[in-house]
């Protein structure tokens, strides 16, 4: 019983079913551990002790009454702080929204509540999901539980760290250019970015609307599939959410990849890839080969255009999406103003952090009259080419296998002053968002410092099952 916090969601659920633990007991165990451990890790921005306990009591009552509940009922969860929760602050780790309480629940939060999951709290991130280390949080830096001098990755660093530090068995993150997969890789957990449109974005505070997706982060592949079952599905509040049939992703948890084809794009194994990461990936490829998969190297020549394309599109959309934070209706308002222009200029100058401002300026520039065609329009054309590159590859391969990030988690403070160096960490993850395809990061070893290495598996649109099958097979062998 004293190792409850180390259990996976499925194991906790088993305890409930065998009546070996109650939901309030489990919830209290996590809350107690957060209290003890988070002073060291700094993953949580808000802990919802009271609400979580109240919710736990209610779910327990339902269980005691013999109600038939879903597989994730009673499972505590951490939610990234850019996903709107009614009555609980949603800060986006920004001074701009430090005291903001959303008047509504995001669709994914509604789904968590409908499943009777227990929201433990809201977790840290790079401000407005912009960054790859969670160091851009306006409040505090989160540490990598595997090594406290390292970053947990980002922008969903709080989600990944809370799981790696046993302060939540499972979490929601969001991924615009790698923000679920890269921290999952750095913290040694499983992170899925679903196909664009599989999960509703309603209530996810927008960074880049055409790239953002909410996704599950977990200790195991099975937990991940179970959480995706809860949050996936068409939402009439989000017209970009796809009208696809509801699936049970746990059906894909099959320990067998015999005869399936893996494509390995050589552009993802070139300059900048740490040797230890490369070796771990090669070992993983060997393992798949030994399990009967067919592995082939191929070329994705558009890869080199992905990073500039991403930063143009993402920043352009961000510059518009973040216009609403103007100090008028909600959020931070400067005390220093004598005109409307002052309110705008000073509220935004004082309320946004450096990286957010950098991206707003970049995005405003690429959309400006005279520059639009050269940047934004061209980026959209390249986007189509990148998408086509993936589509062609998936005519030959069931999955594409790459490293999640070029290196393992880096030292806190080592890259924060060099944005380009930081952007390069997204090299392998951004093409996936540009193409809108799904990808999962799973642990595939550690470097000599003991830091986890992540493997990224990519599949074609709406084929999350294939990813779970490969990931599950790797995990089981």
């Amino acid at each position: 019983m004293n190792n409850i916090i180390e259990l996976t969601a499925s194991e906790i659920r088993e305890l409930y079913d065998k009546k070996e633990a109650t939901v309030p007991e489990v919830t209290k165990a996590f809350l107690a551990h957060i209290k003890e451990k988070d002073s060291e890790i700094n993953a949580y921005i808000t802990v919802c002790e009271e609400e979580a306990l109240k919710q736990a009591e209610e779910v327990q009552k339902l269980m005691d009454n013999g109600e038939k509940l879903g597989p994730m009922a009673g499972i505590p969860i951490a939610v990234k702080d850019n996903i709107c929760t009614k009555d609980i602050k949603t800060t986006c780790a920004s001074k701009m929204l430090e005291n903001f309480v959303s008047p509504y629940d995001a669709t994914v939060v509604k789904k968590l509540k409908d499943e009777h999951m227990i929201i433990l709290g809201k977790v840290n991130m790079d401000e407005f999901a912009m960054g790859g280390s969670t160091e851009n949080s306006a409040f505090f830096k989160t540490k990598n539980p595997r090594n406290l001098s390292k970053v947990p990755g980002g922008s969903s660093g709080g989600s990944a760290a809370s799981i790696a530090a046993d302060m939540a068995p499972i979490a929601l993150g969001s991924d615009t250019g790698g923000s679920i997969r890269q921290p999952a890789s750095y913290c040694g957990i499983v992170g899925m970015k679903p196909t664009y449109g599989l999960v509703s974005r309603y209530g996810l505070v927008a960074f880049a609307s055409s790239l953002d997706q909410v996704g599950p982060m977990s200790k195991t592949v099975a937990d991940n599939a179970n959480l995706l079952n809860v949050i996936a599905g068409n939402d009439e509040m989000d017209t970009t959410s796809a009208k696809v049939e509801k699936k049970d992703y746990t059906q894909a948890l099959v320990n067998d990849v015999k005869g399936l084809r893996i494509g390995v794009p050589k552009e993802y194994f070139g300059e900048g890839l740490a040797i230890e990461v490369k070796e771990a990936l090669e070992k993983a490829i060997e393992k798949y080969r030994s399990l009967g998969a067919v592995v082939e190297e191929f070329s994705l020549p558009t890869t080199k255009y992905a990073l500039p394309t991403y930063y143009i599109i993402a920043c352009a959309e961000a510059s518009s999406n973040l216009g609403r934070f103007d100090g008028i209706r909600y959020g931070y308002r400067t005390e220093n103003y004598s005109s409307l222009k002052d309110i705008y200029r000073n509220s935004r100058s004082e309320g946004f952090g450096k990286e957010v401002k950098r991206r707003i300026i970049l995005g405003t520039y690429v959309l400006s009259a005279g520059y639009y065609d050269a940047y934004y329009k061209k980026a959209q054309k390249v986007r189509t080419l990148i998408k086509q590159g993936f589509e062609e590859a998936f005519e030959k391969y069931d999955v594409i296998l790459t490293p999640t990030a070029p290196t393992t988690a880096f030292d806190l403070g080592s890259k924060i002053e060099d944005p380009l160096e930081m952007y390069l960490m997204d090299l392998y993850t951004v093409p996936i968002n540009i193409a809108g395809v799904p990808a999962i990061s799973i642990p595939c070893g550690t470097d000599k410092e003991g830091m986890p290495i992540g493997m990224q598996l990519i599949a074609k649109h709406f084929n999350e099952e294939m990813l779970y099958r490969f990931a599950y097979t790797f995990e089981q062998n």
Partner: protein
């Protein structure tokens, strides 16, 4: 130097859909501030727009009624700018692929027929309203109007005078009302126009520099602002000056226009495709179905009134200028069968009364059916034409059925010859001088006697019988 005036209009019309364009909030005018609002129309973080399909349908209806081509693959774009009435800091509009392009409408200006080209019609959302708070001296934001669906109708620079512009807007108003997509209440701001105006020397091909006067919400302000701007530009040019491209504001109380911002200070709206919304794809079948459902348009009604009901062109033109009035005309005419009489009443008493009692044609104090009954009472001889005016006034004040008014007030016409003869004899006997005057050739004497009799009978005497009986005595 002689100048030619070049005018193009951008007309914004609020669509009368039940709900707003991107959320489920009610699209109703005039409620307490910030009561028709939700996370979507107030621009809350994380909220997403969902396009109201009715808005597309209404815009396509307008496009078809104005002879436009409908864009099969259209999209929406963000227009970015900061203003407190714009909660997301961008308006969702259409930039390069509007729903409707290349239409036209025909107008008649002082007897001359003209065709005004329509460049495009696109959909967009309205902004909220800023309210100056006299108590605190601050400015408050009311977001009830944020998200109200609009169409913007952009004309070609085909107008040459204020009269052209007014005729064009009247025409648009008529069409939008007839096809039921907008109530076009200018005083509530649901129809408003921006005027683009430039001058060029007569004979010159290139356009001069234009100015744009924004947000005109009455025919009067459209006409006056145009007259003002023509004179202003003329004075500038004649003094050897240069007209600057600028956005201007019209102050209707002062009767003056003012410069708001010049081209150098113009916003760069940084349009880009709205990533939260899917492209709008319309099938041939969809467009065909809307085409079939279009009602009879005002021009066609006018032609019918002239050919089938023998109304003069002027009268027909006045009646069709308002759909409500035209509907009233048709219904009342159907009830009484005397369209001509209804038309005559509209041209005189109804138009006058609407001004005097300040009611709109879509909200008259009496129904078309009641009015048809009034005409029936006249045609059947139950009341005289002059008594009918009294009954009409009473209908306006009480909303009662004309029969009931006639009965309660005892206004029924007296046609009984015996009863009338009694009065005639008495009046003639009391006015012997009139007989002498009449015999001396003064016809006015007859009118005087009829008037005296009517006075005695409180206007209820049958005028034909009265006339006949008096003449009988006079001609004895």
């Amino acid at each position: 130097m002689e100048y030619e005036v070049i005018i193009g209009l951008e007309v914004h019309a609020e669509l009368s859909t039940k709900t707003k364009i991107y959320c489920g909030c009610t699209n109703e005018y005039g409620s307490d501030p910030n009561t028709h609002c939700c996370p979507v129309c107030t621009g809350m973080p994380g909220a997403l727009p969902v396009l109201n399909e009715k808005v597309v349908e209404y815009a396509v209806r307008a496009g078809l009624a104005m002879d436009c081509d409908i864009t099969r693959e259209s999209k929406q774009d963000r227009k970015n700018y900061f203003y407190p009435d714009t909660p997301r800091a961008y308006q969702i509009s259409q930039f390069d692929l509007p729903l409707c392009v290349g239409g036209k409408v025909d107008v008649n200006v002082e007897g001359e027929n003209k065709t005004i080209g329509i460049t495009r019609i696109h959909i967009e959302d309205d902004a909220g309203k800023l309210v100056h708070d006299a108590y605190t001296g601050g400015t408050l934001v009311d977001l009830n109007r944020a998200g109200v669906p609009l169409i913007e109708i952009v004309s070609e620079p085909d107008m040459r005078s204020a009269a052209d512009a007014v005729a064009y807007v009247e025409k648009l108003k008529g069409i939008l009302e007839y096809i039921g997509v907008s109530d076009c209440k200018m005083q509530e701001g649901s129809l408003r126009a921006d005027v683009n105006l430039s001058l060029r020397p007569v004979g010159q091909k290139e356009f001069g520099t234009r100015t744009e006067t924004k947000n005109l919400n009455s025919f009067r302000s459209i006409a006056r602002s145009i007259e003002f701007e023509i004179e202003r530009q003329k004075a500038v040019l004649e003094a050897g000056g240069v007209v600057y491209q600028e956005t201007r504001r019209w102050d209707d109380e002062k009767g003056e226009g003012f410069s708001m911002r010049t081209k150098e200070n113009a916003n760069d709206y940084r349009y880009f495709p709205e990533p939260d919304l899917l492209p709008i794809n319309l099938s041939e079948e969809y467009i065909e179905n809307i085409k079939k459902s279009l009602p009879e348009l005002p021009e066609s009604r006018k032609a019918r009134y002239m050919s089938e009901l023998n109304l003069p062109e002027y009268d027909a033109g006045i009646i069709i200028s308002s759909k409500a009035l035209s509907d009233f005309f048709e219904e009342a005419g159907k009830v009484c069968g005397n369209y001509k009489a209804v038309s005559n009443w509209i041209m005189s008493d109804i138009i006058r009364a609407s001004r005097e009692y300040e009611f709109e044609y879509d909200n008259m104090p009496y129904t078309a059916e009641q009015f048809g009954h009034l005409i029936q009472l006249i045609d059947s001889g139950k009341i005289s034409g002059s008594i009918a005016k009294t009954v009409f006034e009473e209908m306006i004040k009480t909303g009662n059925e004309p029969e009931k008014i006639v009965e309660e007030k005892g206004l029924a016409q007296v046609s009984d010859e015996g009863a009338i003869k009694e009065v005639v004899d008495r009046v003639v006997a009391a006015n012997p001088q009139s007989i002498i005057d009449y015999k001396a050739g003064k016809d006015r004497a007859l009118g005087f006697l009829v008037g005296q009799c009517m006075k005695e009978m409180k206007g209820k005497g049958n005028p034909q019988i009265l006339n006949k009986l008096i003449l009988e005595i006079l001609n004895k």
